[in-house]
């Protein structure tokens, strides 16, 4: 029976890809698309050793403080310890929720080719696309305002 189940399960892999995000932050607060309905959602994968990611943080923090219609969620991956992540969050005064990520969580987003990588969801919960590399506050604002020049920033 186990064998049959195992043979059938991969067929569901594609169906579960890009499913409703389900992330629990370091304080135990769970974030799902239904719970964030009406807000843009930016899921940002980063790592403590990733200098580009760290340079991106102030921009994201400022944007989070500025916009109530946006929820940024930082997913830390490839870290040595949880303390390292917490120290980094404190040091850079990160204003958005931090999730202790894993390869499984990255897998739910289709895997990562590098860092930082961000995934953007519309207020209705639709995946707009992902962006590889750092983002500026201005770039994200342009996307949220649906400016044509920013349309290519996030790709499916």
């Amino acid at each position: 029976m186990l064998c049959v189940a195992l043979l059938l399960l991969p067929s569901f892999a594609h169906a579960t890809h890009n499913h409703d995000l389900n992330l629990k932050d370091k304080d135990g607060v769970r974030y799902t698309l239904p719970s964030l309905h009406g807000k843009w959602v930016l899921v940002n994968f980063w790592a403590p050793w990733c200098t580009i990611c760290i340079h991106e943080m102030p921009e994201l923090s400022a944007l989070q403080q500025q916009r109530a219609d946006l929820q940024i969620i930082g997913v830390a991956v490839m870290y040595k310890s949880r303390k390292e992540v917490l120290d980094m969050a404190t040091k850079h005064a990160i204003s958005f929720p931090i999730v202790f990520g894993s390869e499984d969580i990255a897998g739910d987003f289709g895997g990562l080719d590098g860092l930082p990588t961000s995934f953007l969801y519309s207020p209705s919960g639709q995946l707009i696309g992902h962006h590889q590399g750092p983002l500026t506050r201005k770039q994200i604002e342009q996307v949220l305002e649906q400016r044509p020049e920013a349309a290519a920033l996030f790709v499916r």
Binding site: L2, C3, A5, L6, L9, P10, F12, A13, T16, H17, H19, N22, A47, P48, W49, C50, T51, I52, C53, V77, M78, Y79, K80, S81, R82, K83, F100, S102, E103, D104, I105, A106, G107, D108, F109, G110, G111, L112, D113, G114, L115, P116, Q132, G133, P134
Partner: protein, 345 residues
Amino acid sequence: MNFMRTPSITHRVLGLAIFIASTLSLSIAVMGNAHACAACGDSLSTDWAIQGVSTTPGFIADLSHSYINQNQQRYGTSKASPALISSLRGAGQEIEDYTKTQTVTASLNYTNDTWGVNTQLPFIRRTHGTFGEGDSNYGSSSNNSLGDVRVIGRYTGLSVDRTSGIIAGLKLPTGSTNTKFSGGTPDLINTSLDRALQNGTGSTDLIMGGFLSGAAGKYGWFTQGTLQHAVSTKTIDGLDYRPGDAYVLNTGMRYAKFGSQFTPMLQLTYTHRRPDTGAGASPADSLTQGPSTGGTLVHLAPGATIRIGGGTSVYGFIQLPVYQNVNSLQLGANYTLTLGIRHSF
């Protein structure tokens, strides 16, 4: 565009999480095999289970099913000829016919930042047949029972990047040791199987070892060495039995990006097991008077893991023997198939 594609040292560890978890599953699956046959099944390390390193803090629950059909007569490094088998039998040696083992193993793994523990509960279904002494004696048995539970700890705080660690644990004597022949000729029915064929060894074994891991681009590798030694044994009907020490070296590699849905893997396992000892151990070779258990084996195991989302993965491996050098006459298998599912939370 700035984009950090090169894994850092930390990536070397953390990118291997699923790879390592899967090798754990593989090793769990072969646990029962080790007990199925005094020597042939031992070629696959029960010890790799101890590695169990998942570098992502949290729990991993794993359920695996393995199948091995040992039906090949082997002597030394080659297949045993009918003439040799006939000579051994003529000299009074019992000849094992087959041993078919299915093992379902449930395990729970907990990982902290620098340490972790893994507990494995195997349930073993084994059927076995043996030609007994004499011209027409034959016995068969079937046993469904719990195997030997393992509790393995690991520490990765020796190095800053956690690419190395030490492992230590115990194999507990929870498996049954009283299976008897239930079919066959009257002379054998209700006589006990050899200790090496029981689902449990009756011994408490200490398991010690260490491991290293690394990565280059999207290739990750892992290697581990372990020693398993019985520190406490069980005497049954006045016959003591001590399973031979097992020395195992495992290495493997995988190819995948971080969080990939499909992860192919390849593992190589070298196992050297010393002969079992004690009055309850299998009798010596009837021709050479040398040991009839223990040996050296090398297996190659291609496999793959597929993430199905939400922290759940399925995996499969097939283990193929590439070198076998067993003491005396022992049963070998063409392959061992392992399927499993795991969930991290």
